[in-house]
């Protein structure tokens, strides 16, 4: 908006200085330069804007549109049903347990992921021999294919799998991890925590290394213990990173799909059927694209609300926002 150049014609008055005479030429050059800059800028953002339009805005608009329709893919019929899908949402007895499972998964994942990531970051924020190896080790699952990672864990978590094999060595008869309600949800959460903890760990590690040493030293000189220094100095200073990782992890937790599809298929019962998986079932397995779109809108609203709430709350607990 600020690249506005005065387009008014300039008339060189008699007796005007050469400097004044040079002004229009400089203005033209600046305008040319600005237009060139703007074009390059638009070329840079163009693909991104096009991508967002095609893959975010357009699908969102279509979901809103489909929400008012029922689409029978096999019969190739598409009819307007008004608010039928929204009414169905409120009468569907599975929605409440599905939202419950989604909340349990999200809370479990956020606590597990952020807690473990912070712990690992603190442990790995030292200058000791071989530290790079450990950092690489904990980060490596992030770059592993999600489906491959989940399939391997699926084998490990079988009743006769590797985890129970290890437990049996120490005389423990392990549970049937993926076939019992509580352990199935815990298993899915743990698999996902281990998959992505490395990413948050790196972000925390980077934030911890940005904490000025003199601040913690000053606290130490003032008699603060390690716990007090960490709680009252370090944590507030890395709070912007905590905000970032919290938002990323919550949004990611609401999008979990592959782990559920591979490990439990939403079972046992519907104990691990989270919102995205339920949405997938309705739209792609039961061919209810209209109702699936309604569920997608619910997901969108939940993500939006959670992000807004966190963004608003940041002023209360994020250090640099005050």
């Amino acid at each position: 908006m600020s690249n506005v150049i005065d387009d008014a014609p300039v008339v060189l008055a008699a007796g005007a200085s050469p400097r004044a005479a040079a002004r229009p030429a400089a203005g033209k050059r600046r305008r040319k330069l600005s237009q060139g800059d703007a074009l390059i800028g638009y070329l840079f953002v163009g693909p991104q804007v096009l991508g967002i339009l095609l893959f975010v805005i357009l699908p969102l608009a279509l979901i809103l549109y489909y929400n008012f329709h029922e689409w029978n893919v096999l019969a190739n019929t598409f009819r307007f049903v008004g608010t039928e899908n929204v009414e169905r949402l409120f009468s569907d007895p599975k929605v409440a347990p599905v939202l419950g499972a989604t909340a349990i998964f999200s809370v479990g994942l956020v606590i597990g992921n952020l807690g473990l990531a912070l712990l690992l970051a603190v442990l790995l924020n030292r200058k000791v021999r071989g530290i790079t190896f450990f950092r690489t080790l904990f980060f490596s699952p992030v770059v592993v294919s999600l489906v491959a990672w989940t399939i391997v864990w699926g084998f490990l978590l079988q009743d006769n799998g590797g985890i129970n094999g290890l437990l049996s060595i120490i005389g423990i008869d392990g549970p049937n991890w993926l076939r019992e309600g509580p352990t199935a949800m815990v298993s899915v959460i743990v698999v996902q925590v281990f998959k992505n903890v490395g990413l948050n760990m790196i972000l925390f590690l980077s934030a911890l290394q940005g904490v000025p040493r003199e601040v913690t030293e000053a606290a130490s000189i003032d008699g603060a213990g390690r716990a007090a220094t960490f709680g009252r100095i370090t944590l507030p200073l890395i709070s912007p990173t905590i905000l970032l990782t919290t938002i990323i992890t919550i949004v990611g937790s609401l999008q979990v799909f592959a782990q559920i599809a591979v490990l439990t298929q939403g079972g046992p019962g519907i104990s691990t059927t989270v919102l995205v998986y339920y949405l997938f079932q309705q739209a792609f397995e039961f061919h209810r694209f209209g109702y699936g779109s309604t569920l997608a809108l619910v997901l969108f609203v939940i993500v939006l609300l959670l992000t807004i709430v966190q963004w608003q709350l940041r002023k209360r607990w994020v250090f640099y926002e005050n």
Partner: protein
């Protein structure tokens, strides 16, 4: 601001152009050469080579057909992938369909009726198709919506190596002594498990999720998941309760069947018996099992029975070339090609349902095995359960049955609850 508006407008125009060009790409033109695509769930090289051989011969006779491709999709997500292709505006011209999704495809009008094309094809011999085999694939007007290209009976393969290692009689000895029934199979399976740590019997592909494969067991108790007209749930019938009590005991008490969350593969030598389709015989060659036998399904309390799985081939109405697709199906399944396909897929043609024809195409199985087990099973077998809205019913029953695969379940109560939840879906 002007620039921002211009940029937005350009992006929208680009998006619209992409959308319209994608739509127009599928518009057929009468003069253009026709490309046909068939979705399949096999990636077996021998099968695909045979399909391509038939397709090449067809193309030679029909120069207007430029290409025929066979598009293998993952078996586990086959129907979902197929319907997603339909939703995405990229329907195949022809598709394989499993029997459990047949009612949805047939009743929705998604398939082009084939009768006219098949009967107009020289030498097709439409009357040769078995009524039992085509029943599932006819629409409410009695038209054939898909051709049942595979009618494959469920049988039992026995690993005599493992039975001998456990000191148990061979399967044929059991059969000869009149003990080829589920109780004996479970009893021997339990002893095999105790002696070798391997599984007794497996219902392949069930894996405590695909419950409809258990029809290969509960049919022996005279049970069925729903009434003949499909309107009433019978999952809680006394026969079904008895069948599930047997299965639960086998998994949790007798340990003759692997429990939930435990993997065992017969063709890796992990089990003494497996219930599976005859087409799995091809896995025996690389299984390492030197001594195996083929038997019919064991007798249940309700007597002898057999179960068949089916696969249909149809031309999709939403495809770009439904007429040409129907014509190719007529060629693909004519008597000559049906005999070739019998190598992998037991045919629906009564004239080809003989041990001689099948043995010529199935080198793994002897003529006696085919005559004693396969042919009678195809002739008398009940098709695996199917219903409209099968995916939702499948999911509803699966989640209900999860409550049964635990120690000391209330089997009758669990099956009552399954019926309560599935009844509204059956009524639709």
């Amino acid at each position: 601001m002007k620039s921002a508006k211009l940029l937005s407008a350009t992006a929208l125009v680009a998006a619209a152009s992409l959308t319209f060009s994608a739509c127009s790409a599928s518009d057929p033109s009468a003069d253009e050469p026709v490309s046909l695509r068939m979705t399949v769930w096999t990636s077996n090289e021998g099968q695909l080579a045979l399909f391509n051989e038939i397709a090449d011969a067809y193309k030679a006779e029909h120069p207007e057909i430029s290409s025929i491709t066979f598009d293998p999709l993952d078996f586990d997500s086959y129907t979902t992938t197929l319907t997603t292709q339909l939703a995405g505006g990229n329907p195949p011209d022809m598709a394989w369909m499993l029997e459990n999704s047949a009612p949805d495809f047939v009743s929705s009008g998604a398939l082009v009726p084939l009768d006219d094309t098949l009967s107009a094809t020289d030498g097709y011999e439409l009357d040769d198709l078995s009524d039992a085999a085509t029943k599932l694939w006819r629409n409410e007007d009695g038209q054939l919506a898909a051709y049942p290209f595979s009618t494959s009976p469920f049988v039992v393969f026995a690993n005599d190596d493992l039975l001998a290692a456990a000191g148990q009689p061979t399967a044929s000895e059991l059969q000869a002594s009149g003990k080829w029934n589920w109780d004996t199979v479970s009893d021997i399976g339990s002893k095999v498990n105790a002696a070798t740590g391997k599984a007794g019997f497996i219902v392949r592909d069930f894996e405590y999720t695909q419950w409809d494969y258990l029809s290969t067991v509960w049919n022996g108790w005279g049970a069925a998941p729903w009434s003949e007209d499909g309107k009433t749930c019978t999952m809680n019938s006394p026969e079904m309760v008895d069948a599930f009590t047997f299965l639960h005991d086998a998994a949790f008490k007798n340990k003759s069947m692997p429990g939930p969350g435990t993997t065992a593969d017969f063709f890796a030598g992990d089990a003494a018996f497996t219930v599976t389709q005859i087409s799995r015989a091809s896995l025996l060659a690389e299984s390492g099992i030197t001594s195996w036998e083929l038997l019919p399904l064991p007798e249940g309390p309700d007597g002898e029975y057999s179960v068949i799985g089916q696969a249909g081939l149809g031309a999709l109405a939403q495809g770009a070339h439904p007429e040409q697709a129907a014509d190719f199906i007529a060629y693909f399944t004519n008597p000559e090609n049906s005999a070739k396909l019998a190598k992998y897929f037991p045919p629906a043609r009564t004239s080809q349902l003989t041990a001689e024809t099948l043995s010529a195409a199935n080198p793994v199985l002897t003529q006696a095995q085919l005559a004693d087990v396969v042919v009678p099973a195809i002739s008398t077998g009940q098709v695996r359960p199917s219903h409209t809205g099968s995916a939702e019913i499948q999911q509803e029953v699966r989640s209900g049955l999860d409550g049964l695969w635990v120690d000391n379940p209330d089997i009758a109560g669990t099956l009552d609850a399954v019926c309560d939840s599935v009844a509204p879906l059956l009524e639709q």
